[in-house]
């Protein structure tokens, strides 16, 4: 299981495909469920979001991510692998800022466990986002509904 949770900048297509390639070597896996969070160009009044700058409490993120993985593994015994990658720093609209990849023997467990992992990330990971608008003004995003 991948150790690094926080990565600088966007989650790249190369990272996603390299993880998929690696998981192909595990022949007990029958299904993957993947969630990719993408930065949305929200419009607020006359301003449009061009990017989000993420910051995080790294030590606590690592601890909480490990705790989430252990909880999911104990709850879904068919799950073989859980990857969590979250961006820090600037991620432009249209780029990926979160990848959750859960692999299991069968699809039901992969899909349910992936969904639960994403919910727990939203609730428990100490990450904050600052929306940067096209006019270079900014605003800290408060609610965690995205």
């Amino acid at each position: 299981m991948a150790k690094t949770t926080l990565i600088k900048g966007p989650v790249t297509h190369e990272l996603i495909s390299s993880r998929m390639r690696l998981l192909g070597e595990n022949r007990e896996i029958g299904g993957h469920s993947i969630f990719l969070g993408q930065v949305r160009a929200d419009i607020k009044g006359i301003r449009k979001v061009k990017a989000i700058e993420y910051s995080a409490y790294e030590e606590m993120v690592n601890r909480e991510a490990e705790s989430i993985k252990q909880k999911i593994l104990s709850e879904y015994n068919d799950v073989r692998s859980i990857d969590i990658f979250h961006s820090t720093g600037v991620v432009m609209a249209g780029e990926i800022s979160l990848m959750v990849l859960v692999s299991a023997g069968h699809r039901q467990h992969a899909m349910a466990a992936c969904d639960k992992t994403v919910e727990m990330i939203k609730e428990k990971l100490p990450v904050w986002k600052k929306e940067i608008f096209e006019d270079n003004s900014h605003e800290w995003k408060r609610e965690n509904l995205a």
Partner: protein, 77 residues
Amino acid sequence: MEIRVLFFGVLTEVTQTMFKHYRDVNSFGDLMHRIQDDFPELVHFDYRIAVNSEIINEDPELKNMDEVAFMPPFAGG
């Protein structure tokens, strides 16, 4: 004792810093008073506090070199 205090998210704009060292701290209450004196605007913000990256629900016993983090509501994803 010496305590390292961290600020995150919108709170960094209130404090204009991401961390600050406090020396000769007697207790958690003493630390909180000093932080509130330094940054009175903090009272207007929601936050939770973690000590050594664990969220606390009541006043903890601090040890020398502990890390105390002020965290606004999480917004990951």
